[in-house]
Amino acid sequence: MKGHRNSVTRMALAPYSVWALLFILVPLVFVAYYAFTDNNMHFTLDNITKFFTAKSTVTGDNGETLQVRTYMVIFWRSVKLAVISTIVCLLMGYPIAYIIARARPKVQKTIITLIMIPMWMNFLIRTYAWMTILQDTGLLNNLLANLHLGRMHIIGTESAVVIGMVYDYLPYMILPIYSIMAKLDTRLLEAAHDLGCNNISTLRRVVFPLSLPGVVSGVTMVLIPSISTFYISQKLGNGKFFLIGDAIEGQYVANNLHFAAAIAFILMVILLIAMALMKRYTDSRVAGGV
């Protein structure tokens, strides 16, 4: 009986297994295969070592010429901007999620829809929209000027790139946190008040620990795409902040498929390790709970 049931289950799952194989596993194998081969499809570690060792000359702040490890600089810049964006998303998204979850059901639906609507538009178009907003003569600066607050130079700075990333990825922070918070038992909040907690300590001692799983998936869903993002930096950073995603895109466009695959592969491994560490940390924090 059991064997029969298993084979039925397997058959029912077959289309999904095939789908997963074709569209998830096979591409990954190709990426790995390309990363470790040269143009003649011979095994090589050159692509990997190139990522860690390739150097280029830049002009320093005082006009002196410096030798830097090209891709390491790009990588750390990507990490820095992604971490900043994730933190900003968390600081903005958490209270928003909390407020939505406490609103009346009808209001909740409306706000969630409003948050989702921009996601229906292509992110290139959204990024272009931010260009017009942030330009030196753009919407924001015109508004500031009309209010006599003085103009700000934003476009082409790291701030502009962070704004673009936060805008694009904020929903991915809000939604998982909101879905956990909406399920939070309000009696637990009443119990906390009953046992002497004011609003702030209720938030700190009950709401936050119980919402950690949502925070973890929110952070993962923002950090990972923002580390590997491209295009935002090109458009909002005026190309000055070349990120790891841009590097991969650039190498593909330049037909260096093997090196592009190597960068993608290294990034993937690093992200996997980071995620595993994060999961371990949070598992120990929310042990047994929820």
């Binding site: 637990l188 119990a191 906390a192 008040h193 009953d194 046992l195 004011n198």
Partner: protein, 375 residues
């Protein structure tokens, strides 16, 4: 119970939601060290009353006084009152020890003292050795005990219990009733207990407050409430009752079911229509010719200790509980002692209760299950 010290007073409390009145002019005082039960069916306002004392609801009109001071607007966390919630509301991210220690940590109690108090509390609720256990893996009864320990650890002056035994099975329920009673005696804390289970209320309370439709119907000791119900609602809700229409001829004389009985009540107007309550255990079945009333037995149910017999008397079905067997279809006489007859003034509940023509045990049990998921 200290009758000289009113710990909580509710004065003229009314509350409505969306135009529906939930509480209608509630007047109640609760003494220090009292075990008081708010008893009533679903939607009678008992939980709302409790939440008002806990600080989770504010009255539309009227005042909540704590030791004489008005606390209407004092938030829950500043009240020296703790609650055992209906489904316990334990914190799933904390173990047993940390759940119980929760209120102490909020008060920044030193670590050694926390340890000492939590250990003492866990001993009181018989959960010693469970400190490190995960609360989500405990049984219902154990979770219940954690909730009680957590609510008592900071020594509140009043403990509110919102149907705390509702989710436990019968055996555990009986044990916990005894234990709660002894915890209340041991700690000397005032307990305000909400339940829809009349047996629970009778066996545990110093004082019972019977509520219905947002109003208090009667306040009294369990024996008062049982023996001297104020109206048809109370008589029907507490225990089993035959409630028939009667006419008070004069003091100590009442007519019902076509016969004039001697009784022990007085102070009614001449020929005043009244409700007459006779408890099933106070009715005797006698040979037909010796009966004050005659009736036909329509059903007999064996209950273990006694038989439950339904007798049709002039179209009104009486319930009689007796240890003597009588057969279905038999014509019998009915005998009622004067002190078994209790006379009540007519009320809005007159005629709504006390007839056993649609009676069946299954119906009764079903309605209990339904009302457990209320509020």
């Amino acid at each position: 119970m200290d009758k000289n010290k009113k710990i909580i007073e509710l004065k003229n409390i009314s509350k409505s939601y969306d135009g529906v009145t939930v509480l209608d002019n509630i007047q109640l005082h609760i003494y220090d060290n009292e075990f008081l039960t708010l008893l009533g069916p679903s939607g009678c306002g008992k939980t709302t009353t409790l939440r008002m004392i806990g600080g989770f609801e504010t009255p539309d009109t009227g005042d909540v006084l704590f030791l004489g001071e008005r606390i209407n607007d004092l938030p829950a966390h500043k009240r020296n009152v703790n609650t055992v919630f209906q489904r316990y509301a334990l914190f799933p991210h904390l173990n047993v020890f940390d759940n119980v220690a929760f209120p102490l940590k909020e008060k920044k109690v030193p670590r050694e003292e926390i340890e000492e108090k939590v250990t003492e509390m866990l001993k009181l609720v018989k959960l010693t050795g469970f400190e490190k256990r995960n609360v989500t893996n405990l049984s219902g009864g154990q979770q219940q005990r954690v909730a009680i320990a957590r609510a008592l650890v900071s020594r509140p002056q009043v403990l509110l219990l919102d149907e705390p035994l509702g989710a436990l099975d019968l055996k555990l329920r009986k044990d916990m009733q005894q234990e709660l009673k002894s915890i209340q005696k041991a700690t000397g804390i005032t307990f305000i207990f909400v339940t829809h289970d009349q047996e629970e209320a009778l066996s545990m309370s110093d004082t019972i407050v019977v509520m219905s439709d947002g109003r208090i119907q009667q306040i009294g000791t369990p024996t008062d409430i049982y023996n001297e119900p104020k109206n048809a609602f109370v008589a029907d809700f507490i225990g089993e009752s035959n409630i028939v229409d009667g006419i008070m001829r004069e003091d100590f004389k009442v007519t019902f079911s076509g016969h004039t009985f001697e009784c022990v009540d007085k102070g009614f107007a001449k020929n005043e229509p009244v409700d007459v309550v006779v408890r099933p255990e106070d009715v005797d079945i006698v040979p037909l010719e010796k009966g004050m009333l005659q009736g036909l037995i329509t059903s007999v149910t064996f209950m273990g200790v006694h038989y439950e017999i339904i007798v049709d008397i002039n179209g009104f079905k009486w319930m009689i509980q007796t240890t003597d067997f009588a057969a279905e279809g038999e014509k019998v006489g009915i005998f009622i002692e004067p002190d078994a007859i209790h006379i009540m003034k007519k009320s809005e509940y007159s005629g709504m209760f006390g007839d056993y023509s649609s009676y069946s045990m299954e119906m009764d049990e079903l309605s209990v299950v339904e009302s457990e998921d209320e509020e």
